[in-house]
């Protein structure tokens, strides 16, 4: 299968070329068949590639394919167009092509009345190519190609409705802030090449432990610079400001790029370079702090937003903070696990929100919604499931991944501390609160929309609801592959990723503890207390936004200073 690896990114690229070169000459059905079909075939190939990988011994799970030499300068600098499949990229391509395909199908319905239909799918195909190149690249520079490519597509898709100034402003902002991050990525890459003499991941993994001194300023600088790149792409403090504005783009874009795939690239990059980070504990500490701060801070902003997509945007920023917190305590597997479950439920939430917006004649303000439950039963049910998942209700996917992160943030020998755990748990409670607020404001209570809008409310077409239902299933079962060792003998997910997580001699001790053992009683206690807190916060949301809505208004008046602070996002930008 390794010889077909290049087809996974190439097929969407061919789709891009066909749709792009024949823009305006193809009918809508043909455009969508080319775009969706190419991603679907990529997904099938990814599936086979994944299966082939499972047949190999864990240590041999790495397939490489070099296509041609891209840049060769002098005797010592050579970078190829090469793809590499290992357990980490296998998960990524499955998520990207799988969720990506569902969102493509959803877009057929969502974008059906848009005059820019073909242009939309052209951009989406280009995005898929870039994203798959990002995760399959076998070296830093090719990864950077994908990295910049997804940034470009994000720019084009945020500003998709280019006659709106707010949209093109948001696109430009996203691109420039990402470019600031790329500045860090580039310099980090320079240090790595300068020291290691190669940009190939395999070489870096092999040589880094010899070249760099554990904890030295140089490796710390390299990691921090790479992390600046990750901060830009994955919207961490202080480079998060572009992501909420990015909601100007069409909703499927928000789901695909700004929730499920592109924004997680920073997390992917950290895990990919974990060999370096594990040698730079100081850098990891910064990662953990930034992640924890972002998780908490963005969640508080999410409490007060009225635009349904903005709530979800801040939620995404917050959840990405979680993933970085996990990476920061050297629990890379937990980070990737949450990345995957988050891709399912957050894509679902965005698509559900899109379905609501679609049914509400493009209304996005939750103050003018309410009572939609009976008009849009499928959207309601699926979003409800996703809300359970993100809130961490036991049994749903988000519970397992979030619990894993919380436990590691407490127990890991690498920076694990009770402070991180407390921040994590409070964030989890806030998350549950704003998510149930969203559900109650949207689907329950009085119908606050105008008559005109009300007469048009309808459930979305099948092309939109079927992806919702599939994602709902994934949001439930997606967590079961990574059952914590409290429930199952082995954590399959962790075992699967083990070959990718390189333990250096000094870093191995922390990793060993991060991957299990510890105090079982303590683990149960922490888990139960976090669940109780989450349930309590859901109850509060129920009380404020369903049962006695008057309390929420009076409370809002009393706390108006606080509310304005949050509504205005702490007056940043």
């Amino acid at each position: 299968m390794a010889e077909y690896l290049y087809l996974i990114p190439l097929l969407p690229f061919i789709g891009f070329l066909i749709n792009g070169l024949l823009l305006g000459k193809l009918s809508k059905p043909i455009v969508s068949i080319i775009a969706c079909g190419s991603v679907f075939i990529s997904f099938i190939i990814s599936l086979f590639a994944f299966l082939e990988l499972t047949n190999l011994a864990p240590s041999a799970r790495i397939l490489e394919q070099t296509l041609f030499t891209w840049i060769k300068s002098g005797n010592n600098f050579e970078v190829s167009f090469g793809y590499m499949l290992d357990p980490l990229s296998a998960i990524m391509i499955l998520v990207v092509t799988g969720v990506g395909f569902l969102i493509h199908v959803y877009s057929i319905g969502y974008m059906s009345h848009d005059p820019g239909y073909s242009r939309f799918f052209t951009y989406l195909s280009l995005f898929m190519f870039s994203m798959l190149t990002l995760v399959l690249a076998d070296n830093f520079l090719l990864m950077f190609v994908g990295w910049e490519g997804v940034g470009l597509c994000s720019y084009l898709l945020i500003g998709f409705w280019f006659h709106k100034k707010s949209a093109t402003d948001a696109g430009k902002k996203a691109f420039i802030i990402n470019h600031i991050g790329d500045f860090g990525f580039l310099l980090g890459m320079f240090i790595i090449f300068w020291q290691v003499g190669s940009l190939n991941f395999v070489d870096v993994v092999a040589r880094a432990p010899e070249v760099f001194v554990y904890g030295s300023a140089l490796v710390t600088a390299a990691c921090l610079l790479l992390f600046v790149g990750a901060m830009g792409k994955s919207a961490q403090i202080p480079l998060y400001v572009w992501l909420p504005d990015a909601m100007e783009g069409p909703t499927p874009v928000s789901a695909l790029i700004h929730a499920a795939t592109m924004v997680t690239a920073g997390v992917y990059m950290l895990v990919r370079t974990n060999v370096l980070f594990s040698m730079a504990p100081d850098a990891l500490f910064v990662v953990a702090c930034v992640g924890a701060a972002t998780a908490f801070f963005a969640a508080t902003i999410g409490l007060a937003q009225n635009d349904i997509k903005r709530v979800l945007a801040y939620s995404t920023v917050s959840q990405l903070g979680y993933m970085f917190l996990a990476c920061g305590v050297a629990a890379y597997t937990a980070g990737v696990f949450h990345l995957m479950t988050h891709a399912f439920f957050k894509a679902l939430l965005f698509l559900g929100a899109g379905s609501v917006i679609h049914g509400m004649s493009d209304e996005q303000d939750m103050r003018y919604m309410g009572g939609l439950k009976k008009y849009m039963p499928i959207t309601f049910m699926t979003m409800f499931i996703a809300t359970f998942a993100i809130s961490g209700i036991p049994g749903f996917s988000g519970f397992f991944s979030k619990d894993e992160i919380l436990w590691k943030s407490f127990s890991s020998q690498m920076h694990g501390s009770v402070i991180f755990w407390v921040i994590g748990v409070v964030t989890a409670a806030l998350t549950a609160f704003y998510m149930f607020r969203l559900i109650y404001l949207t689907f329950y209570g009085k119908e606050r929309m105008s008559k005109e809008v009300k007469s048009h409310i309808h459930e979305s077409p099948k092309t939109m609801t079927i992806p919702l239902m599939i994602l709902a299933v994934l949001s439930v079962v997606g967590g079961w592959i990574g059952l914590p060792h409290l429930f199952a003998k082995t954590n399959h997910f962790e075992e699967w990723l083990a070959p990718v997580i390189i333990s250096t001699s000094q870093g191995s001790a922390s990793h060993a503890l991060a991957s299990g053992g510890g105090d079982v009683a303590m683990e149960w206690t922490l888990m139960i207390s976090s669940v109780v807190l989450v349930l309590f916060s859901i109850f509060m949301a129920y009380l404020l936004y369903k049962k006695k809505t008057e309390i929420s208004t009076s409370l809002a008046e009393k706390l108006s200073g606080m509310k304005n602070l949050l509504l205005n996002k702490y007056y940043v930008d």
Binding site: F68, T69, W70, I71, K72, S73, G74, N75, N76, F77, L141, F144, V145, E148, G149, L152, Y155, G159, F162, H163, K165, T168, D169, K172, F175, I176, H179, I180, D182, F183, L186, L187, F190, I191, F193, W194
Partner: protein, 529 residues
């Protein structure tokens, strides 16, 4: 054929000039057609040179060396290496496109205009072929005259001011270079007892002391720095660009600026290695200032053309920085970026010219929402913009990345500051793009603009292809410039304070205090030369 190809390519446009002289000036179509045919044949000749060129051989190829004025040791000495080869091909391609771009926009003095274009081409190719300083100087000056006329006669409202400023600046530099050449000649005569203008001979045999090197480098470098233009000698450039007709701007940015950096590679670095090392911190500082300053000034421009002009100042700063990284990545990146800058800035000027022909304005505020009325134009403009800001898989990335990587290895501080320029370039280009192409079409005049016609597509297509070709598969270019770049580094290695390591990186000896701080090497092994 082998040895005559350069002479043929250089002087073929001159044949065209002679033919054009016999065409009556009323027959404008014949004049245009003839000029186009001549430039296309010249381009094909340069392609032939490209295919005949042996990428593996080091040293000069297609050499011709015939005594010309023997009493002064002046020879007709032509020859090219990979660097000049690529620049010649760039020149001939851009000349064809410029002639096509002038098809409708030049309405007066057509005969004189096309004769000037072809004369300019002779000068440009000549500079890249010449291996004799006397010839080099003649061709260098030869370019000046037609360019003066192109700006001064066919330019915009303040054409005379711009043309005279251009000439004064360049003449000042040329005079310094002339003095430098005389001094070199004198030194050589004092050493060997005979005259020679031969660049190769001078480079290999002349062992100048530190002091004379400083003076000579200064004279030549100033002449070249004005041409580049390196901050603070850039003030002539925006005026010249804004006033010049489209084709003039294309040639000016695409080829003439490269004369400066080419001069550094061919003359300053190999002939004066000690001075190169001594001046390095100053030139790098100026380059970094140029990168940041050019980008910042570009950001506030109201005229698209002067925005592109200032972006050139910034981009040329990158090229200078790459040259003075003094390693393979830096130098190769710089050479590739010389080509890239010619392609993408050339394309930008062509695009600006196309919109100017339609609207007779270049002010950003006069546009808005063009994406709706001119979709194809928008796509091409987007691609060129991305190439200019160095997005991966476009040509700009390959050059910029290698320059920064090379410089980082030599001196990480310069490289880190210069990398800020990468962010800035995205800012000013995208902001301009947004204001011109996005939003509603709110100006009446913009509602009926026509999209690209067949001639314009023909002009832009080759550039778009080159943007992606160099971005995705630059290997053929690298293989041709590698031996040439290695030669340059071997020459710089003659300086006493440095050595060339096995990766072709110029490194300082540790005992040479003061200069040691410039680099951040962990060179444990002190190699003796």
């Amino acid at each position: 054929m082998d040895s005559s190809i350069l002479t043929l390519t250089t002087f073929f446009p001159a044949i065209g000039i002679i033919l054009l002289l016999f065409v009556p000036k009323e027959k404008t179509d014949t004049i245009k057609g003839l000029a186009l045919i001549i430039s296309v044949v010249t381009m094909i000749l340069s392609f032939a040179a490209y295919y005949m060129f042996d990428p593996l051989a080091s040293g000069m190829q297609f050499e011709v060396n015939i005594p010309w004025i023997s009493s002064f040791g002046i020879n007709y000495h032509f020859g090219i290496d990979g660097i000049s080869l690529l620049l010649i091909v760039l020149t001939t391609i851009l000349t064809v496109l410029s002639i096509l771009a002038s098809w409708n926009s030049i309405t007066t003095g057509i005969k004189g205009y096309f004769i000037s274009m072809l004369l300019l081409e002779v000068g440009m190719i000549g500079v890249f072929c010449a291996l004799d300083l006397f010839l080099f100087y003649i061709f260098w000056e030869l370019m000046l005259i037609p360019m003066y006329f192109i700006i001064g006669v066919w330019g915009g409202p303040r054409k005379l001011y711009a043309a005279i400023k251009f000439v004064l600046f360049t003449m000042f530099g040329s005079l310094l270079m002339l003095v430098g050449i005389m001094y070199l000649l004198y030194e050589y005569q004092a050493m060997t007892g005979e005259f020679s203008f031969d660049i190769l001979k001078l480079t290999s045999t002349l062992a100048l002391g530190f002091e004379p090197q400083l003076w000579l480098f200064g004279a030549f470098a100033l002449a070249f720095a004005i041409k580049v233009p390196l901050f603070p000698f850039h003030t002539w450039l925006p005026d010249a660009h804004v006033q010049a007709p489209t084709a003039g701007s294309v040639i000016l940015a695409g080829v003439l600026l490269k004369m400066g950096t080419y001069g550094f590679i061919r003359i300053c670095l190999p002939m004066f290695p000690e001075a190169t090392i001594a001046y390095l911190p100053y030139i790098c500082t100026l380059s970094v200032i140029a990168i940041i300053y050019g980008a910042l000034v570009a950001m506030v421009q109201k005229d698209i053309k002067s925005l592109v002009a200032f972006s050139s100042v910034s981009h040329m700063g990158f090229i200078m920085l790459g040259l003075f990284a003094l390693n393979m990545q830096g130098l190769e990146g710089a050479v590739i970026q010389m080509i890239n800058h010619g392609i993408s800035t050339g394309a930008l000027f062509l695009l600006v010219g196309m919109i100017y022909e339609r609207r007779h304005t270049r002010m950003i505020e006069d546009f808005g929402g063009l994406a709706k009325v001119m979709p194809l134009f928008t796509v091409v403009f987007m691609i060129v913009t991305l190439s200019s800001i160095g997005l991966p898989l476009t040509n700009g990335f390959v050059g910029e990345f290698l320059i920064l990587l090379g410089m980082f290895k030599s001196n990480y501080i310069y490289a880190s500051i210069a990398a800020v320029g990468v962010i800035l370039s995205a800012c000013y280009m995208l902001w301009m793009f947004q204001r011109v192409f996005f939003g509603e079409v709110d100006k009446e005049e913009n509602k009926k603009l026509l999209d690209l016609d067949a001639r314009e597509k023909l002009i832009l297509l080759p550039l778009v292809i080159l943007i992606f070709f160099i971005g995705i598969y630059p290997a053929p270019l690298f293989s041709r410039i590698e031996p040439a770049v290695k030669n340059v580094l071997q020459q710089v290695n003659k300086a006493k304070s440095v050595y060339l390591d096995e990766e072709y990186q110029i490194r300082y000896y540790k005992d040479n205090t003061g200069q040691n701080e410039l680099t951040l090497h962990t060179d444990e092994e002190q190699k003796s030369k």
